[in-house]
């Protein structure tokens, strides 16, 4: 029989206001095996932990039940405290009476009764708990960063700085990401390229960093410290080692009509191309969808002009297998295509553009060489209307848009408005907004400059309709403050479209077994306390893939993720989860059912000699689990009909004991 101590936490009033903690302590104190039961204001506090440790010592406790907040919050805290007192940490169980009781129930009697039942279930489990010892597994001292935007770049640089190897996998031909497309940055108005490209060069020159550009992650196996990743290097039909990036091929290529994605399709590029001048790696790529040689077998101009013989039309995709100790998701975002907002005329009017398109229209390296000309007639616009929150902050029911605020639009629109007014003072600029959100350092000052110094017309209201009429964009809007309907004849309309996680994020999350929220942003391990970690051990989050962010936030998070990775890679060994599967060889019949459902290949078989009846011996095939590889999912335990396979810490009997305690009449 265990000697169990029960500790009921008040959590200030979080629990105690709804649960009669004294009654719970009293009721659970009467349970068989419970030798000590008490309540305390904050069990997680230093003095709460001391209370628990004193009780373990004085009452010779063999098991502990803490009725408190979610085990996801403080299970580790209480287990550590118990361990300090010499009690095996796995002899501690938590009954979640905050998230599952006090926070959702109002009636004290009902909440108290439920708290008692959950406490009994935890006690029933502890009765069957056994001390568990964690094993160890080695750490591969290399990290993988998926995505080569500013987030990935910063994370990689910081990890490399600490002396560890890092690979960056970028699906585009160059790293740089969205920041490379941006003209100026708020609130300082410094040039994005000027601050980004030196970092790109640092990456290229850092011998700890290896860039897999034009590559995608194919599969991920393994677990924290021991990931095995297959990377698909897509055929770019140019030998990366030979290509010098001289660009002669991109000038001579006769296929000139390829929409230029870097410039948001506002101009064209060649079939063989280098996305932009400062690309890293500065290597050409053939776009097989447009290349005449690839499509018809006739042309070969690039091959002829290439001085180093780098062109290889027969190049194939290559799969590279690499091992990593940690993986960082930095998959970034895309602005939502506003094609579903017909009323705003994006699909029908050339002069309705997105904000990122406007960035290119204002960029010196863009299609207009930095002169603001509208796409349709290449004329300078005199009236520009900005529409905020296109696709952001929508009702949950509205399937067209996103429920969240994209966070960066208010500031970059202020930036755009300000830049236009500065360069072209003859231009009238209107901004239609729901709210203007400027909670950042120097942000509100920046916005106020746009309004006060630059005379941008901020109108609280929504644009209902944009229709083109003879080259004029008729903008129909409502001014919510005056209650008037506005009709503006605009030359250019700019839509601040929602930030959307990159489409590849979902499949990458699946490979990483990292969880995502309903909007396809990666979920962090804890919203407040572990914001750069995924709940999946060894997976870290950097940049917008976790939620909308501006550049400084992205960079901070990227460095934070790097710090977490460094912390992991600095260890030689990792402590394994001791709650792993275990095979009872006396029961195992070697049928292999468990092996078939193990996602980690942790189960192996061997013929072993056993004692048969009446002093005979017999040889049987039995399963064994590699505890360093097993992650403790339990799939095998259900596949096993004889119950030979069981999961430590979540054994059949433990779970059934919880069931019994909960259902008890």
């Amino acid at each position: 029989m265990q000697r169990i101590g029960v500790f009921i936490c008040h959590c200030g009033t979080n629990i105690a206001a709804t649960v009669d903690v004294k009654a719970v302590a009293e009721a659970l104190g009467r349970e068989p095996g419970v030798v000590f039961s008490t309540d305390y204001q904050y069990m997680c506090s230093e003095s709460g932990q001391t209370l628990m440790r004193d009780a373990i010592r004085e009452h010779k406790l063999s098991g502990v039940v803490v009725c408190s907040c979610s085990p996801r919050m403080h299970e580790a805290t209480f287990r550590k405290a118990a361990e300090k007192e010499g009690l095996n940490p796995y002899m501690v169980e938590i009954a979640n009476i905050r998230e599952q009781v006090s926070w959702i129930h109002k009636d004290v009697a009902e909440a108290t009764e439920k708290a008692i039942i959950l406490g009994r279930a935890a006690i029933a489990k502890v009765h069957l708990n056994k001390p568990l010892t964690a094993g160890e597994s080695p750490v591969t001292k290399r990290a993988l960063v998926i995505g080569g935007g500013i987030a990935g770049i910063q994370t990689a640089l910081d990890i490399a700085e600490a002396g560890f190897e890092v690979d960056i996998v970028e699906k585009e031909p160059t790293i740089g990401g969205k920041m490379a497309q941006i003209d100026k940055t708020f609130p300082t108005l410094d040039c994005a390229a000027c601050i980004l490209t030196p970092k790109m060069v640092d990456v290229a020159q850092n011998d700890k960093i290896k860039i897999f550009s034009y590559s995608e992650v194919e599969s991920v196996k393994g677990f924290v410290g021991n990931f095995k990743v297959a990377i698909r290097k897509k055929a770019r039909f140019v030998d990366e080692d030979k290509c010098t990036g001289c660009g002669i091929c991109t000038e001579k290529c006769p296929q000139k009509k390829v929409p230029n994605e870097f410039n948001m399709g506002l101009d064209t590029r060649r079939a063989i191309y280098i996305p932009f001048a400062q690309a890293v790696p500065k290597v050409a790529t053939i776009d097989a969808n447009y290349c005449t040689m690839m499509k018809t077998g006739k042309c070969g101009v690039c091959q002829k002009v290439c001085g180093v013989g780098a062109i290889d039309y027969k190049q194939q995709d290559v799969i590279v297998e690499r091992e990593y100790g940690a993986i960082v998701a930095a998959t970034g975002f895309n602005p939502m295509k506003p094609t579903q907002y017909d009323e705003l005329g994006y699909s029908t009017c050339e002069d309705v553009v997105t904000s990122l398109e406007l960035e290119r229209l204002m960029n010196a390296a863009g299609p207009t060489a930095g002169t603001l000309l509208r796409p349709s007639d290449k004329k300078h616009p005199h009236t520009v209307v900005f529409v905020q929150c296109v696709g952001s902050r929508c009702d949950a029911e509205n399937e067209k848009g996103k429920p969240y605020c994209s966070k960066i639009c208010c500031m970059y629109t202020a930036k755009h408005a300000m830049l236009i007014r500065e360069k072209y003072p003859d231009t009238e600029v209107y901004v239609f907004y729901i709210d203007v959100r400027t909670p950042g350092k120097n942000f509100d000052e920046f916005y106020r400059r746009a309004v006060e110094q630059y005379g941008v017309h901020y109108v609280k209201g929504q644009v209902g309709k944009v229709v083109e009429d003879n080259g004029v964009l008729k903008v129909q809007a409502s001014d919510l403050l005056s209650g008037e309907q506005l009709h503006i004849d605009a030359d250019l309309v700019v839509l601040a479209t929602a930030v959307e996680p990159d489409k590849s994020a979902r499949s990458i999350a699946t490979m990483l077994t990292a969880s995502m929220d309903t909007n396809d942003f990666f979920t962090e391990a804890h919203a407040k306390l572990r914001p750069v970690e995924s709940p999946t051990a060894g997976i870290f989050l950097s940049g917008v893939c976790q939620g909308p962010k501006d550049i400084p936030e992205t960079v901070s998070q990227a460095s934070a993720a790097a710090a977490k990775v460094i912390g992991l890679l600095a260890k030689d060994k990792l402590t394994c989860n001791p709650c792993v599967a275990e095979s009872d060889e006396l029961l195992c019949n070697g049928c292999s059912s468990c092996e078939k459902v193990c996602p980690y290949g942790a189960i192996t078989y061997a013929d072993k000699e056993f004692r048969g009846p009446n002093r005979t011996t017999l040889i049987r095939r039995v399963a064994s689990v590699n505890p360093a590889v097993c992650q403790g999912c339990g799939a095998c335990t259900v596949a096993c009909p004889s119950g030979a396979m069981d999961l430590k810490g979540f054994s059949n009997r433990q779970i059934m004991a919880e069931v019994d305690a909960i259902c008890k009449m």
Partner: protein, 144 residues
């Protein structure tokens, strides 16, 4: 006659990574659901053995729900896919034996879906309350 004081007993097996966290989120968002629902934490939905479900009914549960990560989002890659097949077959068999199909349910609830967790549990509790006591898989020895 149904006892007016009848409160159903509902066992919810929740995977540690998604649904249990979803329940935590429901809690921290104060999204209530009936106290009749009691959660058992399992590492993964694939840890839920049909034995546990029958056990719950035996011991007096009126409804059993299993909640796991959305298909494709399993923390262990494939656990919920196996769980889905197992539960599909088990539930189909229970139905075949004439045991009310509404008493068992599977939902995929992510860590971010506190609202869905609460909504699901409210709905399920209402379904079970309407069905009344589990008579077809009861073990009278376990009743008071």
């Amino acid at each position: 006659m149904q006892d007016v004081n009848y409160r159903p007993k509902i066992v919810a097996f929740c995977c540690n990574w998604c649904s249990y966290a979803g329940a935590d989120l429901a809690g921290s968002s104060r999204l209530a659901y009936p106290a009749d629902v009691k959660i058992i934490r399992v590492p993964c939905s694939c840890r839920v053995n049909p034995l546990f479900i029958l056990r719950a009914f035996q011991r007096g549960a009126d409804g059993v729900i299993m909640a796991g990560c959305h298909p494709g989002d399993c923390h262990y890659t494939s656990g919920n896919y196996f769980a889905r097949r197992r539960m599909t077959l088990l539930f189909s068999m229970l139905d075949y034996l004439g045991i009310e199909r509404e008493r068992t349910r599977v939902e995929w609830i992510s860590a971010a879906e506190g609202a869905k967790f609460s909504k699901t549990m409210n709905e399920f509790a209402a379904t079970i309350a309407a069905l009344g006591e589990n008579k077809r898989l009861e073990d009278l020895r376990c009743k008071k």
